[in-house]
Point group: C2
Chain length 333, copies 2
């Protein structure tokens, strides 16, 4: 892939358009990560915040505000808020996931990290709330505190759906909204709210973020069965090994014959996994069309996201958001 | 101790005076703990919230609002907010402390609890923010989001001061404000703010909560060296075994001769503790007057708390808060 190709990636076009504001967001994040009393806080957060993430969520807030003609600087505060909430969630996810995957083999280092991850995550949540309070918009506070509750609820729900083959698509969708879509939709919605956009446009921005977030997470779950570790950073089979019941498995279960149901019960419900089981799972997923069905679900949500944009006025940023929706699939190559 | 004695305990007099409001707080807490999608949430929180805690923090908010003549119902929302923040903090503390004290011997049950504790704690934080947003008071939001940041910062700071004999009293005080006093002072302050009290009274309410919280935590740290497990529920020596550097140790270090310094370095910094070391620690603490000095510090903070009340108008609740400050020492008998 040449440099020219890279430069035309939709999230990079958006980043270029929002470059000045993104610089302000980064400066604000660094300033608010600091802690006079506890220097360990910026140490722990720096590797996450500075690690060169795509800043997708803050870009959504900045883009929504820009699209609605916003001229103030609260968009920068809200973009930093959204990134802080995201980072706090990642820190706490690490604790939850590390506990499971390294069970029985804890190290002092692991335990130290758990403590810091929990407490520094709490600090970032509190910092996020301080930042959003500075916008003095009760509606923004309402949207973002609701999003925080949905996120936490979705994470807890995920604990109960793991290993449960009776998980429905509706429950899966609820988990996906909590894990990903709630923050995407809050990010776009608050951009419209601080810009004072008409209700119809605020609703459209919410719907775009919601559908984009769902598509994003479904693709993430699909990548777990057909990704390329080199380009995605994800190892095929992690969800299978961690016995998560994601859309591919739900779709395969819906089509399963008796032998396949026994296979899923043994590997996912009982956790009795042997060499070759991941290959057998992939064979079943292909044979039952579960991966194609999962991809089709993501395509439908991308269409939903792009459809929501139709309500918004013609604007270069609207086109960038339109392209961004398609980019969800780029990781699937 | 007869029933009559029990009935005159200051926190029970306050609870009796605020009984109707406290009933509303409990009902609100139960309603907001519920989760349509994740029934595990109320399971995890119920044992903490319903366990018959003294509801000290919510009482402080209700008392402050009552004292300032408040007639609305936002005091109930704020009292529930404060209890949710406290409960979330306890859940996350469990993760942090369990990791340390059960190191090397994790159980699946422990790990499951850790996950739930982290995520349900996050849910309660988010619920707390939703509740405070409902008051539509930006000043209240400002105070409580600042308190949340101070709490998290104090907890992180405590990680760095543990095992560090160079911890100063100023640093110790910062940790104590984060662990306890920040929420006490926010609890009293927001009661005055929603009542629309004059600034001088709001400041006095803050100062009362701050000093009461500091006294409360200092006594807690003192109990760790001279408490009676039966009446306090605390085991003597937990902080020593966990190598926490609290005020008794700081005061003893300030007076230590070379042999004693070597003892503290071995037991607290290096963590090399043998049979008889707790007894030796207690001997040194007594010989160096460190426990008396710690008690004197708590007495000074109680005087500070009672002094702050002088600014407030004569009121039965003011007298109850005055008695409550003295009650801090009741656990020491």
């Amino acid at each position: 892939m040449g440099l020219d190709d890279a430069a035309t990636k939709p999230h990079e076009a958006l980043a270029a358009h929002l470059a000045a504001k993104l610089g302000d967001v980064d400066a604000l994040i660094r300033a608010r990560m600091a802690s006079r009393h506890a220097p360990r806080i910026p140490e722990v957060t720096a590797h996450l915040v500075e690690a060169g993430g795509k800043r997708l969520r803050p870009m959504l807030t900045l883009a929504a505000a820009d699209l609605c003609g916003y001229a103030g600087d609260h968009d920068v505060r809200l973009a930093a808020t959204v990134e802080f909430i995201h980072t706090a969630t990642l820190l706490h996810d690490d604790v939850v996931d590390e506990s499971a995957s390294r069970r029985g083999r804890p190290t002092a280092n692991l335990l130290w990290d758990n403590k810091s991850s929990v407490l520094v995550g709490d600090y970032l949540f509190a910092r996020a709330f301080q930042l959003m309070v500075e916008t003095e918009s009760l509606r923004v506070l309402d949207i973002l505190s609701d999003a925080a509750a949905t996120i936490a609820e979705g994470e807890v729900l995920q604990l109960s759906t793991a290993r449960d083959l009776a998980t429905t698509e509706a429950l899966y969708l609820q988990v996906v909204r909590g894990k990903t879509a709630a923050l995407f939709s809050a990010a776009t919605q608050v951009g419209g709210v601080i810009a004072g956009a008409p209700e119809r446009r605020i609703a459209a921005l919410h719907d775009y973020g919601d559908a984009l977030g769902i598509a994003f997470q479904i693709v993430d779950d699909l990548l777990d069965y057909q990704g390329d570790a080199k380009s995605t950073g994800k190892n095929v089979g992690d969800d299978f090994r961690e016995r998560k019941v994601t859309l591919p498995v739900i779709r395969a279960m819906a089509q399963a014959d008796e032998g396949e149901r026994a296979f899923w019960r043994r590997t996912i419900e009982k956790g009795d996994q042997q060499d070759g089981d991941l290959d057998r799972a992939l064979d079943i997923l292909h044979a039952r069309g579960a991966l194609d069905a999962t991809r089709a679900a993501a395509i439908a949500w991308v269409a939903e996201a792009r459809g929501a944009l139709g309500v918004l006025p013609a604007h270069p940023v609207r086109d960038m958001l339109d392209h961004l929706a398609d980019y969800v699939f780029a990781r699937l190559t």
